[in-house]
C-alpha cells in the first residue's frame, strides 16, 4: 500500500511529507523526482494509487481552492490532518469531502454531543459516506447539465471515419434531508424493455429533433449510484451528495448528430504567408438556435502577424495561445458563416515541426449530439416530503431538459499533406485532392 505521500514545489523542495510505512525514508524524495510510484516492499495497486492522488487533489481543492505552493503552505496543518484521516497505514479511507467537512474543520471541534459524535462516525463509515444527515435548504433545487464532446475523425474526402460522443451528466443538488433520486433517459435498452418507441424507431429522425432512444456504449457512475440496481434493472437511483458532482459519464458511437460542419481551406503563398479560409455550416433545424459558438483555429509557432476578416461574430488572433479565436453569439440552423485569415510567417530554419493541432469548436445547442434526452428526474424524501411548491419550482426553472449545456466538437483531421517545411495545414484539409 501507499508508503508515504510527498508534496513538492516546482524546485523539488518538500512542502508536505507524510510517511505511513517504515520502508520509506526521507531519501525516498530522490526516487520520486523520477517516479510517481516507487515500489520496494509491495506490489501496490497502481490504478488505486493514481485514483487516490486525483481524489486527494479534489479534496484539497474543495477545502482551500487552487492547489498552489502558497495555499499548501498556508494550509499545511489542515493537509496533515486530512492525510491522517484519509490514509491509514497507506490504505485509503473515506475521502468524500461531504463527510470529511463534518469533522475536519480547522475550527477546533466544539464539544459535540454524544449523538453528534456517533452521527459523524456512522456517516464516515456508513453506506452513504458522501452525504451527511440533517442538511436543510429553504428552497430545494436540483440542477442538471448534460455536457457532450464530439470527437470526429474524417477522411481527406470529408467522409466521417469515426465519431464518438463522450458525455457527462453534472448535477448541482441543494436538497434537504436524505433525498432518493431516480434519473431516467432515453436509453434504448430501457425504452425497448418498456415496449415503447418501436413504431417510429427507424434510426434516422429529423435533424436536430433527436431520436426516440439512443444506444449507449458504456457508462460509469458516481459512487452514490446503486450499481447492482443499474445492472439488473438499468435504472439509475441514488442519494446525491450535497452540491456539485458528476453523476455519470457515457459514450455513444451510433447515429451521432453533428451540429456543425467545418470546412477549412489553406493556401500557401510563398514561404512566409498563408491564406486560411474556414467555413462553418450549422446542420440542424432552422428553428433551433446555437449559442456561444467559439471556433479555435491553431496557427503555426512562427506566426508573426494575422489579419482576419469574418462575416459574423468577432475573431481575434491570440498569440499566447497560438490560435485564432472566432466567437459567434448565436446562429440558427441551416446557416453558414465564414472566416478568412492571412497569416504572416517568420522565415525560420527551425527544424522542429509544428504538431498541427486540430480545429476545435465549443457551442451550446438545444439538443445533445448523441441524441440523449432526460426523460425524468424524480426526487423522493421519505421524512421531509418536500412541498409541491419546491418540486414544481425545481422542475420548471432549473431542470433544463431542452437545454443541455455546452458541447464541444473536436475534429481531428485524418491526414494532411505535409511538405518539407512546417506548413500549417489545418483542420480537415484534404490529404490527396
Amino acid at each position: 500500500m501507499i508508503g508515504g505521500l510527498f508534496i513538492y514545489n516546482h524546485k523539488g523542495e518538500v512542502l508536505i511529507s507524510r510517511v505511513y510505512r517504515d520502508d520509506i525514508g526521507r531519501n525516498a524524495v530522490d526516487a520520486f523526482r523520477v517516479n510517481v510510484i516507487h515500489a520496494r516492499q509491495q506490489n501496490v495497486n497502481a490504478a488505486m494509487v493514481f485514483e487516490f492522488l486525483y481524489k486527494m487533489c479534489d479534496v484539497m481543492t474543495a477545502y482551500f481552492g487552487k492547489i498552489s505552493e502558497e495555499n499548501i503552505k498556508n494550509n499545511f496543518v489542515l493537509i496533515y490532518e486530512l492525510l491522517d484521516e484519509i490514509l491509514d497505514f497507506g490504505y485509503p479511507q473515506n475521502s468524500e469531502t461531504g463527510a470529511l467537512k463534518t469533522f475536519i474543520t480547522q475550527q477546533g471541534i466544539k464539544s459535540q454531543t454524544k449523538e453528534e459524535q456517533s452521527q459523524i462516525t456512522s456517516q464516515v463509515t456508513g453506506q452513504i459516506g458522501w452525504r451527511r444527515e440533517g442538511i436543510k435548504y429553504r428552497r430545494n433545487e436540483l440542477f442538471l447539465d448534460v455536457l457532450e464532446s464530439v470527437n470526429l475523425l474524417m477522411s481527406p474526402q470529408g467522409q466521417v471515419l469515426s465519431a464518438h460522443v463522450s458525455g457527462r451528466v453534472v448535477m448541482k443538488s441543494y436538497l434537504s434531508g436524505m433525498p432518493e433520486c431516480k434519473f431516467g433517459m432515453n436509453d434504448k435498452i430501457v425504452i425497448e424493455k418498456q415496449g415503447k418507441g418501436t413504431a417510429d424507431e427507424t434510426g434516422k429522425s429529423e435533424l436536430g429533433s433527436g431520436k426516440q432512444s439512443i444506444a449507449i456504449d458504456d457508462c460509469t457512475f458516481h459512487q452514490c449510484v446503486r450499481l447492482s440496481k443499474f445492472d439488473s434493472e438499468r435504472s439509475i437511483s441514488f442519494i446525491p451528495p450535497d452540491g456539485e458532482f458528476e453523476l455519470m459519464r457515457y459514450r455513444t458511437t451510433k447515429d451521432i448528430i453533428l451540429p456543425f460542419r467545418v470546412i477549412p481551406l489553406v493556401r500557401e503563398v510563398g514561404r512566409t504567408k498563408l491564406e486560411v479560409k474556414v467555413v462553418i455550416k450549422s446542420n440542424f433545424k432552422p428553428s433551433l438556435l446555437a449559442q456561444k459558438i467559439e471556433v479555435r483555429i491553431p496557427t503555426p509557432l512562427n506566426t508573426s502577424g494575422v489579419q482576419v476578416i469574418c462575416m459574423k461574430g468577432k475573431a481575434k488572433y491570440k498569440a499566447s495561445e497560438n490560435a485564432i479565436v472566432w466567437k459567434i453569439k448565436r446562429m440558427a440552423g441551416m446557416k453558414e458563416s465564414q472566416i478568412s485569415a492571412e497569416i504572416e510567417l517568420l522565415p525560420t530554419n527551425d527544424k522542429k515541426k509544428w504538431a498541427r493541432p486540430p480545429i476545435s469548436m465549443n457551442f451550446e445547442v438545444p439538443f445533445a449530439p448523441s441524441g440523449l434526452k432526460v426523460r425524468y428526474l424524480k426526487v423522493f424524501e421519505p421524512k421531509l416530503n418536500y412541498s409541491d411548491h419546491d418540486v414544481i419550482k425545481w422542475s420548471s426553472s432549473t431542470f433544463r431538459e431542452h437545454r443541455p449545456g455546452p458541447s464541444t466538437q473536436i475534429e481531428r483531421p485524418c491526414g494532411s499533406p505535409w511538405e518539407r517545411t512546417c506548413l500549417p495545414v489545418l483542420g480537415f484539409h484534404p490529404r490527396r485532392s
Binding site: 500500500m1 510517481v36 490532518e81 479511507q93 471541534i109 462516525t121 456508513g126 447492482s228 522542429k352 498541427r356
Partner: protein, 949 residues
Amino acid sequence: MTDSKYFTTTKKGEIFELKAELNSDKKEKKKEAVKKVIASMTVGKDVSALFPDVVNCMQTDNLELKKLVYLYLMNYAKSQPDMAIMAVNTFVKDCEDPNPLIRALAVRTMGCIRVDKITEYLCEPLRKCLKDEDPYVRKTAAVCVAKLHDINAQLVEDQGFLDTLKDLISDSNPMVVANAVAALSEIAESHPSSNLLDLNPQSINKLLTALNECTEWGQIFILDCLANYMPKDDREAQSICERVTPRLSHANSAVVLSAVKVLMKFMEMLSKDLDYYGTLLKKLAPPLVTLLSAEPELQYVALRNINLIVQKRPEILKHEMKVFFVKYNDPIYVKLEKLDIMIRLASQANIAQVLAELKEYATEVDVDFVRKAVRAIGRCAIKVEQSAERCVSTLLDLIQTKVNYVVQEAIVVIKDIFRKYPNKYESVIATLCENLDSLDEPEARAAMIWIVGEYAERIDNADELLESFLEGFHDESTQVQLQLLTAIVKLFLKKPTETQELVQQVLSLATQDSDNPDLRDRGYIYWRLLSTDPVAAKEVVLAEKPLISEETDLIEPTLLDELICYIGTLASVYHKPPSAFVEGSRGVVHKSLPPRTGSSESAESPEAAPSAGQAAEQPAVIPAQGDLLGDLLNLDLGPPVSGPPLAASSVQMGAVDLLGGGLDSLLRSDVGGSPAMGGGGGFAAPGPAVPASMGAPLGSGLGDLFDLTGGVGTLSGSYVAPKSVWLPAMKAKGLEISGTFSRQVGSISMDLVLTNKALQVMSDFAIQFNRNSFGLAPAAPLQVHAPLAPNQSVEISLPLNTVGSVMKMDPLNNLQVAVKNNIDVFYFSTLYPLHILFVEDGKMERQMFLATWKDIPNENEAQFQIKDCSLSADAVSSKLQGSNIFTIAKRNVEGQDMLYQSLKLTNGIWVLAELRIQPNNPTFTLSLKCRAPEVSQHVYQAYDTILKN
C-alpha cells in the same frame, strides 16, 4: 489565517525560543509553537530536541493540537524511545475517551509508533477497540492489527488478534469489513502458507454484500481479495462473476480494473459453451474502452493492462481497434502504448484502417513516436500476411520522404520482412541501396549490410557497396562490424572469384586489428571454416534461416497468466512478476490462474493460449538480429581468449596464402559438384599448424580452435579461470600481480602476470608459499629474466608440486603467498580451484566404486544443486573428464540420467559422486561422498565452475 509563516523561521536560537513557547501557559501560543515545530519537521530540520516539551502538550482537549502532537510523536518516537514512553499514559487514557474520534485517533497513532515498549501497552487498548461499539473505532483498530503485525508478528498471533480480525469480516459495517479484509490480506501475504484468509462460500457471500455498500477504496480491497479466491466449481465462479460485473460501471478506474481482474481470473473456470461466457466477454469490452477517457496516468495503467488482456483473450477487444487511435494531445507515453495495442489487434479485417493510421503517425512530430509507427508497419506485415505487400509499399513511400530517421527505421523493418517472406520483395532492394549514404545509425547500417550480404547474388555491385563500408571499419560499432564480416563472407561464398581480396581484407581487419573478442572469434571461425572446408562453410554460413513470426514479441504464456492475476498493480504496468522488483519476502508467492475446466478445449481458437502453459505451443523465438552463425557463436565458447597473444606472427604467415586451397576447392565444388574434400596441405590454417579435426562436429572443431589459441596442443586441458588481480599495485608499491591456476597433463602451474606500475625498475623477484592444506609449493624458482621496467609486464608460468609442508587452512583452498623484489616483500592470499588437484588416475573400478560408496558412512554424504546448466549427460561427462572427473557408469532411471563419477586428489583422497540430470530441468543434483567430507564443498564448486565454463 495563514500558516505559511511557520515555514520561514530560520534564525538562530530558534529551538530555544520554541522551547519557551511550548512551555507557555497560553493555549494559543502553545499551539502556534507546535505548528512551527511541525513546519520545521516537514522541511527536514531536526527538532527532536524538543521531544519532552512537545509531549507535554499532549494532554489537551483541543483535538487539533492533539493531532499535531501525535504527528510529531510518530516522526520522532523511534529516535527517542525512552521518552516516547512518557506518552503511553495519555494514549491509554485516550483509548477510553467517550469521544469515538479520540479513541480512534489514539489507537491509530499508537500503531504508528514503532517502539517495542509502546507496543506492549498497545495490546489491551487494541483488544477493546476491536470490539468497540462504534464502527469508526473498529475500522481503525482493524488496520492497527496490520500495523502491529508489521512490528511484532509473534505478538499479534499470541494475543489472538488474528481471530478477532477474522470475526470482523462478518461485521455489520461495510467499512469495517473492507479494512479487515485489507489487513488480513496484507498479513496473509507475509505468511504465504498460513490459512489466514480462509475464504469459503459463506465468507465470500459476506464480502460480496459488503462490496455493494462500502467506499470505492473498500471495494478495491475486497475485489483484490476475491481475486485470490479459488471457486470450487464453475457454478460458484459464475455466481461470483455475476455479482462483480456491476462494478464495471464504477467511476473509479481502480475499482473497474480490480473487477476486471476477478472476472478474467474466474472466466478460466467457465466453459466456453456457456451462454454466460459469451455475455461476460461482451460486458468486458465497454468498460475497458471507457478507461481510455480517464486521466492520462490512469489511461497508461489501463493501456498496459489492456495490452495483457488483448494477449490473453484477443476476442474481447477485437472490434474496438478505432478507440486506440491516438489523439493529437495524448501524452507520448499513452501514444506509444496505444500503438502497441493497435498492432496486437491488427487482423486481416482491419488492416487497411490500421495501415492508413500508421502512415499518418509516421509523419508526426515526435521522433520516438514516428519511429515506433514505422516499426509497427513492419510488425503488421509480419503478422498479417495478406497485408505484407501493402506494408512494403507504404514503407517505400516513407523512404521516399527522405526524412532520415524514417528511412533508417524503415530499412530495419524491411530486413525483418525479408526474414519472414524470403524471395518475395527483393525488387525493393534497389530503392534501399539508394539510401545507403544517409544511414548513420548502427542498427540501420547493420540491417542494410545484412540485406546486401543476404542478396549479394542479385546485387550487381554488392562488392562495391560492402567495400565502401569497409573503409571506416574500425569506426563502426560492433554490431555493424560483425554484420559486415558476415555479409562479406556470404558474398565471397556466392561470388568467390571477384571477392577474394575483400574477404581477406575483412578477415584480417577482424582478427588482427580488432580488440573486440567477439569480432576476433567470429573472424577466426570464418577463417578456419573457409580454409578447412569451404563446402561446409557454405552449408553453415548460407544455411536456410528459420522464419520469424509475430510471436517474437508476445509475452511468454506462463508469465502472461501470472500477470493477469496482477491486473491493476505495478506488476501489470511493468509486465514483470512482483518477485522481479519487490524487495524481501512479500509478493514472492507466484499467483496462477485457476485450471481450465472448459469442456470444449478442442474447439478453442488457436489464438487463445490455453492457460496450462505447457500445453501452449511455444513458437521458436528468434532474436531479431537473427543470424544463425551469430547464434552459434553465442553458444558456449567458454574459455575467454586468455593470456598469451594469438601468435600474431603465425597468423600473418598464414594469411599469405590463406585461401589458396580454399578457393580452389570452393570453385571445384561449385563447378563440378565434387563431394566435400579437405583443404589438404595447400594452405595453412591460422594459428600454429595442428591437425584439424576433420569431420568432427563443428562444436568440437571450435573447441580445438580454442586449444590452439591457448598455444598448447594438449588434450587434457582442464578448465582455466581467467586471470584475476591478486595483489593490486596500490598495496605493493607499484607491483601488480594477477594470475590463475591451471593443470595440464599432470602438472600444476600458477600462471602469473607481473606488472610494474611504479616509476622505478623492479628486479630480484622471488616467491614463497606458506604451508597449506595440500602441500602446494613452487617446483622451481620464480624466473624473471630481465629487470621489469616501469609500465611493463611479464608473464610467467610457475610450475607447482604438492610436496610442500601441509597445514590445514581455512578455507581449505586458501594459499598464502609472499613475493619479494628489490623494493620490498609483499604478501597476499588467494583461493585455488580444487580441480587443479584432481589427478589423472582418478578413475575407480566399478566394483570398487560400489563397495566404497557403501562403505562411506551416510553422514559423510553432501548434496548440492548445480543451477542453470543445460548440458546433456554426455556433454557433462566429456566436459568433466577434461578436468579428471571420470564417469564410471551412467544409468537412466525414470527418464533422468544418473552419472556415477570418481576423482582423486593429489594427496590420495577419493571423492565419489552421483550426478542427477533431469530432462528439461537446468538444475542438476550432485551428491558427494568422501571420507574427508570437508572437501565436498570445494569439489562442488569445482563441478560448478567446470560445467559453467
